[in-house]
């Protein structure tokens, strides 16, 4: 177990170094959600006048979306980096060492988790500076960070699965619009009970991303809402578990060492 932890640390360290040394890959994922936050919190401010809208601050309502969007971008980084390892043969180099598959998978998402943590801290700091009040207090703010990092881990692991399945950076990039579509058909812009278009409300209700957003939103707007948190953490942990299983299966196929 100690050896596994050591190997995870080595692979994660490499992943973090590599991510940090490619500013072109992490600056846009950090800044784009911020720009969207500024545009939407001003442009859609009128939505707060709708009867039943849970807050007078659209920024407070919208901020959870930024955490999700950042995590989604982080998944692209983890996936693209692993696809490059497959393509260049670096994965074969690692396969010739005593590294365990579990260490490879868990360590490989180190960059995505590191970036996800940094993004979450930046978004939270900006929200607080902009006057957003966290209803659940300091503990709630901490839980927001934890959930944001878990979401980044989940999407990061999904990125690894796609990279191992397709073996190419293009393959990873091509799935990005699909994942972004999941964000768009969620409750990102309106609470589900205020969505009047029937099919959209149904899709948003079926979409696990809605519950991840609503868990963070509940901590910002409501306080400690056990049901929202259980659903948010539940779907996030399910995403991590399923993605990890799929990625581990694909790794065994890709790294078919005897």
């Amino acid at each position: 177990m100690r050896a596994l932890g050591y190997q995870i640390g080595l692979i994660a360290r490499r992943s973090l170094i590599r991510t940090a040394r490619q500013p072109g890959t992490w600056i846009p994922p950090l800044t784009f959600p911020l720009m969207l936050m500024v545009v939407n919190s001003n442009g859609l401010r009128a939505a707060t006048h709708l009867p039943g809208f849970p807050t007078k601050s659209f920024l407070a309502f919208f901020i959870p979306f930024s955490f999700l969007q950042g995590a989604l971008f982080a998944s692209g980084i983890a996936g693209t980096d692993l696809a490059r390892d497959v393509d260049t043969g670096f994965l074969n180099r690692l396969a010739l060492t005593p590294v365990r598959g579990a260490a490879l998978l868990i360590g490989q998402i180190g960059g995505a988790v590191g970036l996800g943590s940094f993004q979450a801290l930046v978004y939270l700091a900006i929200a607080l500076l902009a006057g957003v009040h966290i209803a659940a207090g300091a503990g709630g703010a901490l839980l927001i960070l934890v959930l944001a990092v878990l979401v980044a881990t989940g999407f990061g692991t999904l990125g690894l699965f796609i990279a191992l399945k397709t073996g190419s950076g293009e393959g990873v990039q091509s799935t990005f619009p699909l994942l972004f579509f999941l964000l768009l058909i969620s409750s990102m812009n309106l609470p589900r009970n205020l969505i009047e278009v029937g099919w959209f409300r149904v899709l948003a209700t079926l979409n696990p991303v809605s519950y991840m957003i609503e868990a963070i939103r509940s901590l910002v707007l409501v306080g400690w809402d056990a049901q929202a948190l259980a659903l948010g953490f539940g779907f996030t942990l399910a995403l991590i578990g399923i993605s990890l299983l799929l990625a581990a299966r694909q790794l065994r196929i890709r790294m078919a060492r005897t």
Binding site: R14, F90, R93, T97, P98, A256, R257
Partner: protein, 322 residues
Amino acid sequence: MGRADKQSRDAGIEVEGLVRRFKEVEAVAGIDISIPPGEIYGFLGPNGAGKSTTVHMLTTLLPPSAGRATVAGFDIVRQGPQVRATIGAALQEAALDPFLTGREHLRLGASLHGIRGERRKSLIARLLDRVGLTLAGDRKVRTYSGGMKRRLDLALALIHDPSILFLDEPTTGLDPQSRSALWEEVGRLARDEGVTVFLTTQYLEEADVLADRVGIIDHGRIVAEGTPAQLKAEIGKATVEVVPEQPGELEQLRALMRRFGEETAARPGAYAVQLNGKGDLPGVIRALDTEDVRAAEINLHQPTLDDVFLAKTGRSLEGAGE
């Protein structure tokens, strides 16, 4: 020295009927190889002949479809981890991370092999020095030249002191200077440290200069095997080609040279014979002088591994994979 370590040093590579199929395609079609410890074995063949597939199977990265093989005494299917612990490999295209430095690569490699602390530090310094990358060790790999990447690749393959080294086309794309530096290092490893080297190449000169024995593979089958000298001797004697100064003297030249051997292919305006043992190059020159045939050019062509490949497959190795 532990039992496993001693076993790995005392054993080379044994391959029996190794096969690898990819759906309908038989990339490796049942090969047998026996390489004693400390030998440099050159695996020569055109692109797509099955060289890299063989290396992937022997390094445990690809399970064989049939047949068996042991590397350093360990079965490649049943004892994969033991095989990997005793081999080093530099596979086709230097597999490096452009965003890490040379030293960081070595640090990662050493750590994954369980080498830590001061031992790791001194090992990295020694390997960087050995491959001439001490000054460039802290530069990111994306700033390295092709030759530097290949040398780092070799250092990574040596990080855990392997007894068997697999080099898959290690000098492809390198300039002559880098190529000869790499040959020197590989030769030194086999000569001074007793490392068994399995080297795939499509360069005839590389196999000729470096390998103790050569196996020639084509369409997944070994078509010839032996020392470079043995293989060339199988082909026969040297060829002498003469270009007469006066093109009108070509018929006279032909009659003269037929005394020395069998006619063989020559450039336009030239005549060539494969020497039959009844004469040699000085004999040809004396005959030209006696019969007053002035030569513009005289070439002595010793048999090459390409001639061996041509004789065994009916094609020249140059462009055979196209």
